[in-house]
Subunit: 322 residues, 2 copies
């Protein structure tokens, strides 16, 4: 096997300097401007590309941020990830996205990131208590996005989930006058989902005339079928995310039953035009990403201060129109 890649050594030889100088020239250390220009030119000529494995090994940190989420079919994640990437690549980081198929962060997932020498983790996965205990003291910065935790091992940037629930309930009940509401959610052990529900229920408190049912997203089809048979379909549905709202609308559409008011969460129609107007609880995704990246980068640079909790405000969003 013949060596078929250009290293700093090659550049250094041609530029008649040491590899150290090349390293500095490329990473913005203190080098004579003239020398630097020469080195950059030669590097360019030879087609030099930095070996990030070597760089990461030596410096102890890869310029890689792991982004962890659970559902590869939720468009919300690639949308947010794209905003994250935009902010991270400005600082020279690349993103390692990992769709793991579990809602909680555990040791296995963590180790996978660790083995890649990532310098930071952004996770949509709420940590388990065991995990939280196991990693305490490790020094790879982790930030929880859109999820809540009490742990001191994570920073977090979350939505104002409680208010989101309130907004949804006010919309469906006070504004649209719904009297028979179905709330579709996932695992309520995920605390931010619990908070949405809490917010929603807080509006219901003095409204005994409103029927209220809860159902798991995975069971929603059976649930609707059942309600349909019983002739008690809801006149308002709130779904914990837009993808589930689409699923619900699909149920109505495919059965040719006129859809009631259906609301979602995440406002993905801000970025993607959906075939129908879906009212949703939205937030500034760009701001969310920017905030998260800002905090994480600060941590990766060594800021070891108190953990940070930011809450991103939410708003009611009508479906977006072309």
């Amino acid at each position: 096997m013949t060596k078929n890649h250009v290293t700093m050594k090659d550049v250094a030889k041609k530029a008649r300097v040491t590899t150290q100088t090349v390293s500095r020239a490329l990473s913005g250390g203190s080098v004579h401007p003239e020398t630097q220009r020469r080195i950059l030119k030669i590097a360019e000529q030879l087609g030099y590309v930095k070996n990030s494995s070597a760089s990461a090994l030596r410096s102890g940190r890869a310029k890689v941020v792991a982004v962890l989420y659970d559902d590869p079919r939720n468009l919300f994640f690639p949308l947010i990830t794209d905003f994250l990437q935009e902010n991270l690549q400005r600082e020279g980081y690349i993103i390692l996205t990992m769709a793991v198929r579990k809602p909680r962060m555990d040791m296995e997932t963590y180790n996978l990131s660790l083995s890649q020498n990532v310098s930071g983790i952004i996770s949509y996965l709420e940590p388990t208590e065991e995990f939280d205990g196991a990693i305490s003291g490790k020094n790879i910065p982790m930030l929880l996005l859109g999820r809540h935790t009490e742990s001191v091992n994570f920073d977090s940037v979350e939505f104002d989930d409680f208010s989101g629930g309130v907004l949804a309930a006010e919309r469906l009940i006070d504004h649209d006058g719904c009297k028979n509401v179905l709330y579709v959610t996932e695992n309520l052990a995920i605390s931010c989902l619990k908070r949405r529900l809490d917010g929603f229920e807080s509006v219901l408190e003095n409204k005994s005339d409103v029927r209220f049912g809860i159902c798991e997203a995975c069971d929603v089809i059976e649930k609707l079928d059942k309600l349909n048979l019983e002739n008690s379909l809801p006149d308002g549905v709130f779904c914990f995310n837009d993808m589930t709202a689409m699923k619900v609308l699909n149920w109505y559409d495919s059965r040719k039953i006129p859809a009631p008011k259906v609301m979602g969460f995440d406002n993905i129609s801000q970025e993607v035009l959906l075939p129908c107007q879906l009212t949703s609880v939205g937030s500034d995704k760009c701001e969310l990403a920017k905030t998260a990246v800002g905090i994480l980068i600060d941590r990766m640079r060594g800021n070891d201060g108190e953990r940070i909790r930011k809450t991103i405000p939410v708003f009611l969003a009508e479906g977006t129109t072309a």
Copy 2:
């Protein structure tokens, strides 16, 4: 800074062997079964995680595959990527997804992958000629997914785009009886999109009674507005992908104009339930991913044979129902 990670050296010391033995024990080399058990146990106890940077540096190959695509808002990509991941992680590879904002593969994008020491590239980006010339001879395996190329530097797994175009046209014109068809596409310099159009037009050949217009996806809203003013809205629309089809449906929905027959391509509703029944040209995504990964892994293992071209059959898919 105190060392806060466990290395092979630590494991080796505790197991009273050398690091080489540890390395072999972990990578399945020839080690005494007894020794191996002991080593694995100790590694587990100490919480050892392999440093992939060191591994990649030494061996010259990271167990990383770069997946390149252009549009982070197209749900098709995360869906396929998920299938790719499923197949790749079985072989110990992880995926580096990179959403670059250009439809073509160029040197910059390539170098970014290169600097990560990736051992293979799966790209939805058609290579430019310059790029193709520049990399010839480099030995990092590349596979083009869903795109066509004549280059001998890439393997490719593509859809049968021509047939896809034919199926769509037959459906809209022969089956649905459309007489005024709008074809919405992106950059026709992308050869697979050109082929879809060719397939579509081949059906139109002897049908002079069918009006046929073409429009760019980015202009489709203006186009529809204009046609609407002229009172000549199409009775059938074919879109080069499902996301664009949704955009078109959004236009109709938001203006309260009854939608005509609208078709898409990619059949994302196989994985995601959309709020309406969208007829689409689909294919077996799982098969696509499996085929692609199979070829790439073979290459990464050193198979240096002739370029491989696979074509995945397409079919007509009705919208999926909950």
